[in-house]
Amino acid sequence: MSSAAVVIIAILTLPAALAAATLQKLMHATLSFAVAVVGVAAFFFLLGAEFVGLVLVFVYIGAVAVLIVFTILLTRRDVGKDRAANWGGAFLAVAVFGGLTWAILKTQSVAVVAPHIRAVTVKRIGEALMTNYVWPLQCVGLLLTAALIGALVLVMEEKR
């Protein structure tokens, strides 16, 4: 049953991702992007990693997609016309895909069955973040705070 689910999700996700890259209207592209993200989140759910799937939906639809949409609206300009095919981007995408496929086919670890993997609960992810990965977490926090302050400085009223 799960292989059927993989096919169904892929049928929904791949056209949405393609549409996000190719559609003329930016708004439509953004919404297709959101659909593609839901598809990827569904894959994570299928693999039993609910937390990652939920965070994906939370961040990429609740924040990133809304941010893109907001940007489109605030920069009022007819963006429908000048969206030509980006051949450099397409080449890069194909190169990344080819590289990843080559790496996955070459690797040995996929074939290894791991029966003793424990279920990834939210609690375990939290413990890992607060013990082994506490420094990367703090660095990301610092980076985001710096970005936030930078955004505030940009829009601050000048004293006359």
């Binding site: 049953m1 708004m27 439509h28 919404l31 959101a34 609910e50 937390f51 939920l54 965070v55 939906v57 939370f58 639809i61 609740g62 924040a63 997609a65 809304v66 949409v69 907001f70 609206l73 609960t121 939210v122 609690k123």
Partner: protein, 408 residues
């Protein structure tokens, strides 16, 4: 698993069987399928949950729409709807028929697909959020690890749906309404989520069932261990409730659909059944957020007094839900609409610092031993920050002539 529970169904004690009547009813329905393969039973079980959820909440929506008008009428010293059926109770049926047979108008220059999809997406998000709330003992429709996270992840797609409605209508009122809605929804999502954090921290789990279980029992034998009875819990509850008001675009914060300024906001170009779907989504979103408030702070389905524990758990849950919904209606009948800039200032300058204070106060409460000492210390933290904030924000400011920066 099914057989063992059915034994309990055959020899139950009375109070327990009334409490678990819906759970037993579902198990009894599933006994028809014992011969079927596992995945059929799984799908059937989900379908039963979905139909029960939809049935209960669509009925509640119909009831709420008429009761709201009755209560508002009472507040404004008039009768409210009283023509259709006894006490006007069949009014929702009449409204529904009217909405169904109205003409569905789509503007010629609208983005047809987005205009069509927006009401569906907004209703789907609201209904999905209902799925993770525990309505009674063993009565959570979908138990997932991280149910609270699911609630907010699903809720965040509402913003995109509002945007689709506003942009797809190709109308300046719709667009302005959508911009206002999203600005305030994003601003208040922060306090909404941060006020959940202290509860998650104290319980140590993102699962609603565990949060409800942590609020069982009574201190000194009569005060229930609900989080609303701790200083941080009470503050977080009030902040959560206000943010919930904003998220569901209810009256003191209903600028996105302020009819005196921008017609009906993002719903301007919707008519007939699509408008009804928006209306329904708004109410169901309201049920979801009040349900979560009851789960997080008001002890979920636990009874407030130990003597009344014989009353079934789901009755307690819906009693708390109704009480909170009544406050929603009461506020709508009492308060005027706030201005957009007031709403935004309130969010970033008051709500956000206060919600962070709740997190700190909960930590203080935990490390001071969760007793009377912790109670007083966390009260002190909240009182200090509240006083400092009201002095900093200068609430007694003298009013001066307005200075325009850009329109001179």
């Amino acid at each position: 698993m099914i057989n063992q529970s059915i034994d309990g169904f055959l020899h139950p004690n009375v109070s327990k069987s009334v409490d678990q009547i819906f759970v037993y009813a579902k198990l009894w329905l599933l006994t028809w399928l014992t011969a079927a393969p596992g995945w059929v039973i799984q799908i059937a079980s989900s379908l039963i949950n979905i139909f029960a959820l939809l049935g209960v909440f669509l009925t509640l929506f119909a009831l709420m729409s008429v009761l709201e008008r009755k209560i508002l009428g009472r507040i404004q010293n008039r009768y409210g709807p009283n023509r259709v059926g006894p006490f006007g109770l069949l009014q929702p049926v009449a409204d529904g028929i009217k909405m169904l047979i109205k003409e569905d108008i789509v503007p010629a220059r609208a983005d047809k697909l987005l205009h069509f999809l927006a009401p569906i997406l907004i209703a789907a998000a609201a209904i999905l959020a209902l799925g993770v709330i525990p309505y009674g003992r063993n009565m959570t429709p979908f138990t997932i690890d991280g149910g609270i996270l699911f609630f907010f992840a699903v809720g965040s797609t509402t913003e995109l749906a509002v945007f689709m409605a506003g942009w797809g209508s190709n109308n300046k009122f719709s667009m302005l309404g959508a911009m206002r809605a999203i600005a305030q929804m994003i601003s208040y999502e922060l306090p909404l989520i941060i006020t959940v954090l202290p509860v998650v921290m104290v319980v140590g789990s993102l699962t609603p069932d565990r949060i409800v279980a942590a609020q069982a029992g009574y201190t000194f034998g009569f005060v229930p261990r609900w989080f609303v009875f701790t200083p941080w819990g009470a503050t977080a509850f009030i902040l959560f409730f206000v943010s919930g008001l904003v998220e569901s675009n209810r009256t003191p914060f209903d600028v996105p659909e302020g009819e005196s300024e921008i017609v009906a906001g993002h719903m301007t170009e919707y008519s007939g059944f699509k408008y009804a779907t928006f209306f329904m989504a708004e109410y169901i979103g309201m049920f979801a957020i009040t349900g979560l408030a009851a789960t997080l702070f008001l002890g979920g389905w636990h009874s407030p007094v130990s003597v009344l524990e014989f009353i079934p758990s789901y009755i307690w849950f819906f009693a708390k839900l109704s009480a909170l919904l009544f406050v929603y209606i009461w506020l709508r009948g009492t308060l005027p609409r706030t201005r957009v800039d007031q709403i935004m200032n309130f969010a970033w300058k008051f709500m956000l610092p206060m919600s962070f204070t709740c997190v700190i106060a909960a930590a203080v409460w935990h490390y001071a031993g969760r007793g009377l000492r912790g109670w007083l210390w966390s009260l002190l933290v909240i009182a200090i920050v509240y006083t400092a904030l009201s002095m900093l924000l200068d609430t007694q400011r003298k009013f001066a002539p307005r200075v325009y920066r850009f329109a001179e």
